[in-house]
Symmetry: C2
Subunit: 338 residues, 2 copies
DNA sequence: CTGAAAGCGCTAACAT
DNA sequence: ATGTTAGCGCTTTCAG
C-alpha cells in the first residue's frame, strides 16, 4: 500500500496539515520542519494521491479536447493532430492533463453537459466539427470554460480562434507580384469550401489593390482532389491569354496542377509559377518542391492551450480572434522573374 | 451550487446509500424507491461528482497514452493518430477516458512512475517510441497495467502488441505470384529499418518456398524517401535481367519507384507490377493507384483499448503478440499476367 | 509556526 | 429492502 499523508506526518513527527503545507509551498513553515517532512516523504517514497487532491480541490487540472475523429482521421486530417500535439505541449507546461473525446455533433451536447455536471475536467477545447447552436446555448448558459477551434459559421457566443486564411491568400498574391509575376490565376474549392474561399478573397483583394485584372477564366472552382486540380489547370491553360503564375487552394489541387503542367511541358517556375497553401503532404515531395504559404497549426494548438488555461483562471475573459500568422516558405516552384 | 447525493436523498426521502445503490444498479432496491430517487435526481438536475467518485473508488476510469509527439507529428506519423482514434473508440465504449501525454524517452520513466504513484490513471498505453530498459524494469516492478504498442527490440517483460509485418510481406509476395508475376524485386529500407526488414523477410520466405530465385541486385536497401526509391529502382532496372514486379517497402519509396518507371517509359502494371504497403498517403493518389498490403492501424488501436481494459480488470493477464492482420487492396498497379 | 478538526461527495460494509 | 456510518486522502480554516 502506498504511503499517505498520515504516514508522512507520523514519520516526520508533525501533523498532516503541516505536510500539506510543505507540499503546497506555504510560507509559514520553518526550514527545520520542511527538511524533516521532505526527508520523510522521500523515506516513504510518498506521492500525493491525485484522486484525493482533485477531489478536495474540486479540480482535475485537466482539459478535454472534444472533436470528431473516427477511422482515417490520422490520414485525412493531419491538422487535427498537429493542433492536438501543440495543445498537449501548452497544457503539459502547466501540468495540466489533456483528454481526448471523439463524438458526433449530436452527442457533443450531452457530453459537454456531462463533463461540466460531473466536473470531469476544468476546461474544454472544442473543435468546430462538433459545434452547433444548441452547444452554443449550453456553453453560454453554463458558463463553461472553453475555446472553439475554428470560426463558427453562425451567430454565436463561443470563444473561438482560427487561422487567418484570408491573410494567407493576401500573402500568396503579394509574394507572387513581388516576384514579378504579372497575371495570376487561382484554382480552388467551391463556395462551400470556406477555407478556399477565404484564401481566394485574400488573393483577389491584393490583386484589385494592385490593379491586376483577373479574367473570368482565371478563377476555377472544383473538388479538392488531384483530378479536379488537373482539370481546372487545363481550363486555365485553355484561356486565350495564359497567366504566368497559379495559386492552388490546397495540396491536392496543387498535385493535379503540377501534373497538368508537366504533361503539357510547361516549365515550373520559368513558364509558370506555382504556389499553394499548407506545408503538407505533397508540397515537400513534388518535383519541383512547391512554394507554400504555411500555417503553423502546431502553434495554433499551443496558443489554444495557453488561452484555455487563462480562461480557467479568469472565466470572464473573452477572446474571439484569429491568431496564427501564416508564413511563406519559398521553394522551387516560384522565382523572381523580370 | 450543484446538487449532491445528500440533496437527492433528502428530496426522495431516503438515504444517500439508497441513492448510491440506485445509481449503481444494485439489485435490492424496490421499484418504488428507484422511481422516487430517479425523479428526485431529475428534479434537482443531479449528476454524480466524478471527482468524488473517482476518489472513493480509487479509480479514474481513464487510460493515458504515453508517446512522443512534437511538431510535425501529425504529418509525419499519421499511424500514431489512427491508433489514437481507435484507442479512443474502444475506451469510450466502456466509458473510460483517454488522456494523451507526450514525452521524451528519458522523461517517460519519471512520468510513468508519477502516474502510478499518484494514481492519476488506471492504465497506460505506451508507444514503443518512449520505451527503454529502465521503463521495462519499472513496469515490471510496479506491476503497472500497461500495453506497449510496437514490439520492443530488446529482452523485456512488457506486454506488447504489434503489426505482423512479416506476414504482410508474405501476403505481398504470394499475391504477386498468384497474379502470375515470375520474378520479384524488393526495394526498401536498411537494416535498422525493422519494419522494412520484416516485410522483406516475409517476401523472401515465400519466394524461397516457391523456389523463386532472387538475384542479388533484386534486393535494394536505401533511405525511406522518394529520391532513394528512384535510385533503387534504377539500380534494379540496370540488372541484366529485369524482374516483372517490384515490392516497395513503403509509400515514399514507391513514389520514387513509380517516377523512375514513368521516366523510363515502363508501363505499370503491364511491364512491371508495383506493390507497396500501407494505404497512405500516395498509394491512393499516384497514377496508377497502387495495390497495397494494408494494415488497419485504427483497428490496432481499438484492440489495444480492449486489451488495456482487460488488463485493468485482470492484472495478471499477459498478452504479447501480433494482432492486426494485413489485408490486400488490389488497385491498378498490379494485374493478372499470363 | 503548528496542529486539531471539519469537511469535500461518494461508496460499501454492516446493521436493521 | 433500506439506513447508519465509517471511511477514502487531502486541504483548509481556525485556534493556539
Amino acid at each position: 500500500m502506498a504511503a499517505t499523508i498520515k504516514d508522512v506526518a507520523k514519520l516526520a513527527e508533525t501533523s498532516t496539515a503541516t505536510v500539506s503545507k510543505v507540499m503546497n509551498g506555504s510560507y509559514s513553515i520553518s526550514k527545520e520542519t520542511i527538511k524533516r517532512v521532505e526527508w520523510a516523504m522521500k523515506e516513504l517514497n510518498y506521492h500525493p494521491n491525485m484522486r484525493a487532491r482533485n477531489f478536495v480541490r474540486q479540480s482535475t487540472r485537466s482539459v478535454i479536447f472534444v472533436t470528431s475523429l473516427g477511422r482515417d482521421a490520422g490520414f485525412s486530417n493531419p491538422h487535427m493532430f498537429e493542433i492536438m500535439a501543440g495543445l498537449e505541449e501548452a497544457l503539459s507546461e502547466k501540468e495540466y492533463a489533456l483528454g481526448i473525446k471523439s463524438l458526433s455533433k449530436r452527442d457533443a451536447i450531452d457530453y459537454v453537459k456531462y463533463v461540466v455536471d460531473t466536473k470531469l475536467a476544468d476546461g474544454l477545447v472544442i473543435h468546430a466539427s462538433v459545434i452547433s447552436k444548441e452547444l452554443d446555448m449550453l456553453v453560454e448558459e453554463y458558463k463553461i470554460p472553453h475555446i472553439v477551434i475554428g470560426m463558427p459559421d453562425f451567430q454565436n457566443h463561443f470563444c473561438w480562434i482560427d487561422i487567418d486564411n484570408r491573410l494567407a491568400g493576401e500573402m500568396a498574391a503579394k509574394y507572387l507580384l513581388e516576384c514579378g509575376y504579372q497575371s495570376l490565376a487561382f484554382i480552388g474549392g467551391r463556395e462551400e469550401d470556406k477555407i478556399s474561399m477565404h484564401r481566394l478573397n485574400g488573393v483577389l483583394s491584393v490583386l484589385s489593390e494592385h490593379d491586376v485584372l483577373v479574367p473570368g477564366g482565371y478563377v476555377q472552382q472544383g473538388d479538392s482532389v488531384c483530378d479536379s486540380g488537373y482539370a481546372m489547370m487545363e481550363e486555365v491553360l485553355s484561356q486565350q491569354q495564359r497567366p504566368d503564375a497559379i495559386i492552388c487552394a490546397n495540396n491536392y489541387i496543387a498535385y493535379g496542377c503540377v501534373n497538368a503542367l508537366h504533361d503539357k511541358n510547361i516549365q515550373i517556375p520559368q513558364q509558370m509559377g506555382v504556389l499553394t497553401f499548407d506545408d503538407y503532404p505533397f508540397s515537400r515531395i513534388l518535383k519541383p518542391m512547391l512554394t507554400v504559404v504555411n500555417i503553423d497549426v502546431y502553434d495554433m494548438g499551443f496558443q489554444t492551450g495557453k488561452y484555455i488555461l487563462m480562461k480557467i483562471k479568469k472565466p470572464n475573459l473573452h477572446v474571439q480572434s484569429y491568431i496564427t500568422i501564416p508564413s511563406l516558405k519559398v521553394r522551387d516552384s516560384t522565382k523572381k522573374v523580370y
